[in-house]
């Protein structure tokens, strides 16, 4: 009985989210029962990096057809590994865009269902994940026969404690070569690209005023611009505002936009879905203005005003101007 941990790499290094997934895997079994999996066309350096983490074993899943990520390639290769690894109790992943793309298909091949985006693991094991855009939590249990597939949310498990186990003996490394044929890989991925040079660098802003759905229409944006002006802050937004074309995409904060950590982050009419929170929760001081007292944004805010933004924002703009003299 073992825990399989599938590590994700980018630019030749294992991503931090993968080590957070290791921290989660250690809640499901002792370190010596954890087998880390690295996957790609060249996995030797990654395997060495993983073997130093005080775990039981490292599996290199290597094939030339795995040089670029494809859902078909990764799910087939890992399916074969799982069949070979009799008796894996759990399979743990970081909840990345890539994992979201193939792990549900991999689980399905084994008649299983991924418990995705997990934020906590308790005895049972019971897995907590967010529902209704973070407004509620749900506790899930795996009751089927066969391995339990789990992916963990970025930032939910702390990986820093692991880094200190540097003196652990290096784990044995095994090579697994899946049987893959080019015809089995049905999609042809292109190189990653960026749309255009970003002209707004929210990452270096000291103060940010960010606006969400609560603003109701583009015509109301000057209200927020006035507040940002008074605070000498950059203007930013949650995804729906940019989806509607009310502000350019480059002003979007969140998992699909920019990650920011200003001194002051003022969220106006933003409910605080996880996709937004991951982009701003590292801010030094967070202020939330929202009409819904149960909005998840208040869970990360230092200061909150529950009220109608159309009353609060103009009043705040005036108060800031008065304070500035």
């Amino acid at each position: 009985m073992s825990v399989l941990l599938v590590l994700e790499a980018s630019g030749g290094k294992i991503r931090r989210a993968s080590w957070e997934a290791l921290a989660a895997a250690l809640k499901l079994g002792p370190a010596q029962d954890v087998t880390a999996v690295v996957i790609g066309a060249q996995t030797e350096t990654l395997a060495v990096e993983a073997a130093a983490k005080g775990i039981g074993k490292v599996e290199r899943v290597e094939h030339s057809l795995l040089a670029h990520y494809t859902a078909d390639g990764f799910s087939l290769a890992l399916y074969q590994l799982l069949q070979n690894q009799n008796g894996a109790k759990c399979v743990v992943f970081p909840h990345t865009y890539q994992v979201r793309d193939y792990a549900p298909a991999l689980a399905c091949k084994l008649g299983q269902v991924l418990i995705g985006d997990v934020i906590a693991i308790e005895d049972g094991p019971l897995f907590t994940r967010q529902l209704l855009q973070g407004r509620l939590n749900g506790t899930y249990r795996h009751i089927g026969n066969g391995p339990c597939f789990v992916s963990v949310q970025a930032g939910a498990f702390r990986s820093d404690a692991l880094e200190t186990q540097g003196n652990a003996a290096s784990a044995p490394i095994e090579l697994f070569t899946p049987t893959l044929d080019a015809t089995q890989i049905r999609t042809e991925p292109g190189e990653p690209l960026r749309e255009s040079a970003q002209t707004v660098d929210l990452g270096s802003a000291q103060r940010i005023v960010s606006v969400g759905r609560g603003i109701k229409s583009a015509e109301n944006l000057p209200l927020i611009e006035a507040l940002a002006g008074a605070l000498n802050a950059e203007l930013a937004a949650s995804r729906p505002i940019c989806d509607n074309g009310w502000l350019p995409m480059e002003r979007q904060v969140g998992s699909s936009g920019q990650t920011v950590a200003p001194k002051l982050y003022l969220a106006v009419g933003i409910s605080g879905a996880i996709q937004h929170l991951v982009g701003m929760k590292g801010s030094q001081c967070i202020v939330a203005i929202n009409k819904d007292p149960d909005a998840p944004i208040f869970e990360v805010a230092d200061y909150g005003i529950v009220g109608d933004l159309f009353e609060v924002v103009p009043a705040l703009t005036e108060a800031v101007k008065a304070a500035n003299g």
Partner: protein
């Protein structure tokens, strides 16, 4: 192109939610419902593809009777016909169980393309499209913002993390899960609403589809999240609250 769009009815974003007495799910009585927003983007993409290349758009939704209103909305926006899988125990099924229902209804249609939103706004599992592809034996891509028909099949624009994108080429038939924001959503016109009443809406009972319903993953309990920070809520009138806030930002947080 024959396109099936799988849509879900979810609680309206602004509707207050209360945990039901058994703490297994939320209180559904008096709740307002809406079309899952990512699914609305999937429908929009399907309608635009049909406008460009011709064909048919079929909406598919599973759920109890109330789901009919969301299906009518999709028909009013321009879908040609609809299939409603009537299922009163949708929440008792896991993602695989729901995908099996949808796959069973899709198979006899033999579509060129299956579209759905990347995730639902209620359970947020984000798996239905990927599992559907696996069950139907079709290639898939997720988080798609743009779809272009090519001679060989499709060229799609996939969103990656932190502002990166990737283009993917794939043959048809295929399954795509759509990200929001790729298109502008249309509203139903009065004419559309009128027409929707005459369009075919086939009702299938979940039991008739003969798929495995037993779950391998169960939602045991729901609860209110624990606060990560102790938030100071500043009360009083708008004027009083902002005065208190400015004071705190200056003297306590020292960010002004």
């Amino acid at each position: 192109m024959k396109i099936v769009v799988a849509i879900k009815q979810v609680p309206d974003r602004d509707a207050p939610v209360r945990i039901a007495a058994d703490a297994k799910w939320i209180e559904e009585r008096e709740l307002q419902w809406a079309m899952n927003e990512p699914d609305a983007y999937a429908l929009e993409e399907a309608l635009q593809l049909k406008e460009k290349h011709g064909g048919e758009v079929i909406v598919l939704s599973a759920g109890p009777e109330r789901v009919g209103s969301t299906i009518r909305e999709a028909l009013a926006k321009g879908a040609d016909r609809a299939i409603h899988i009537v299922c009163d125990d949708l929440n008792a099924r896991d993602a695989l169980g729901v995908a099996r229902l949808l796959a069973a209804a899709i198979r006899p249609e033999n579509p060129d393309l299956v579209l759905t939103g990347l995730q639902s706004e209620d359970l947020g599992l984000g798996q239905t499209g990927v599992i559907l592809a696996e069950l139907l034996g079709l290639p898939h891509a997720t988080l798609i913002l743009h779809v272009e028909k090519t001679d060989a099949g499709l060229k799609v624009k996939r969103e990656l993390e932190e502002g990166w994108f990737q283009s993917i080429e794939m043959p048809l038939p295929a399954v795509l899960t759509m990200q929001s924001g790729g298109n502008k959503l249309r509203y139903a016109t009065l004419m559309g609403i009128k027409r929707a009443k005459t369009k075919e809406l086939r009702v299938v009972n979940a039991a008739e589809l003969g798929v495995e319903a037993a779950a391998v993953v169960t939602l045991e309990q729901i609860s209110a999240p624990k606060k990560q920070k102790s938030t100071q809520i500043l009360g009083g009138s708008a004027k009083e609250a902002v005065a208190a806030l400015v004071e705190k930002l200056k003297t306590e947080a020292r960010v002004l």
